[in-house]
Symmetry: C2
Subunit: 130 residues, 2 copies
DNA sequence: ATGTAAATAAGAATTGTTCTCATTTAGGAG
DNA sequence: CTCCTAAATGAGAACAATTCTTATTTACAT
């Protein structure tokens, strides 16, 4: 049996779980997913590692929707739509924040711009029916 | 002495406080401000009325910075800079989100767009020094 | 004066997130 | 192999922001 590094077993699972979904999940959602596979993981471990990934720049936190923080394994700047009915977050990959806005922002704010978030809110198709 | 409507005394004070600052404050900040004037107001009253104003469209919540929700008496769509060092939020009034992005977003998401938030993050001038 | 419906104060309850600490793990040194 | 060390984890306590509950107060109409 090959030597396997179990040291980062949970850590890797968390990153993998986040990166293989486009639901922009919360810590709790990831926790529930992993519990169904692993049956032994702690919510604290999920939070701890998400914070670490964020510091390392591997992931980003895109918004807090209805009081809960939502994460994204895609660190490239991109635009989101957030449904105020069901809290779903989706990518709007055909929209870009014009680059010149960033440099204007930096000058106006007298700051070094490090990130930029554009998100639209509204009711998604499903929620409009109900 | 003229009849004065004291019924909405606190409520009006909260809205007035929020609308007369450009600090994009938290509920707690408003509470502390009013305590210094009024000396008898409850934090729950601040939260309750902010939620009401939001539902009525009189104010908006622009982001949650470091776990706390920040409010804005200016409901017109506008752009913010958020300092990750000191949590200050400032308006970037010379930047606009291009109007056509909104309609593109609506089509892409298959949704009725109701709001749009663009914010830049980084270190403000002061925080860059330290 | 009395009744009413809305607004409030105070603090309890809730909830998302972080912290603490004892335990486990991987991998290296003896 | 056994011991050692440092990092990772699980479990639950602690924390902080927000919401809820309930009794009280208020303005106003009757």
């Amino acid at each position: 049996m090959a030597l396997q590094n179990k040291h980062f077993q949970k850590r890797d699972a968390i990153l993998k779980c986040l990166c293989s979904t486009d639901t922009h999940p919360s810590a709790d959602w990831i926790y529930e997913q992993l519990r169904q596979q692993d049956a032994n993981i702690s919510l604290a471990t999920v939070y701890r590692n998400l914070a670490l990934f964020k510091k390392q720049g591997l992931i980003q936190s895109i918004a807090t929707v209805n009081g809960v923080e939502r994460f994204d394994g895609n660190t490239a700047p991109h635009v989101h739509f957030i449904c105020t009915g069901c809290d779903a977050v989706q990518d709007l990959s055909n929209i870009q924040v014009p680059q010149e806005l960033c440099s204007t922002a930096g000058k106006t704010a007298g700051a070094r711009i490090e990130g930029c978030q554009l998100s639209f809110t509204g009711l998604c198709g499903n929620c409009q029916k109900s």
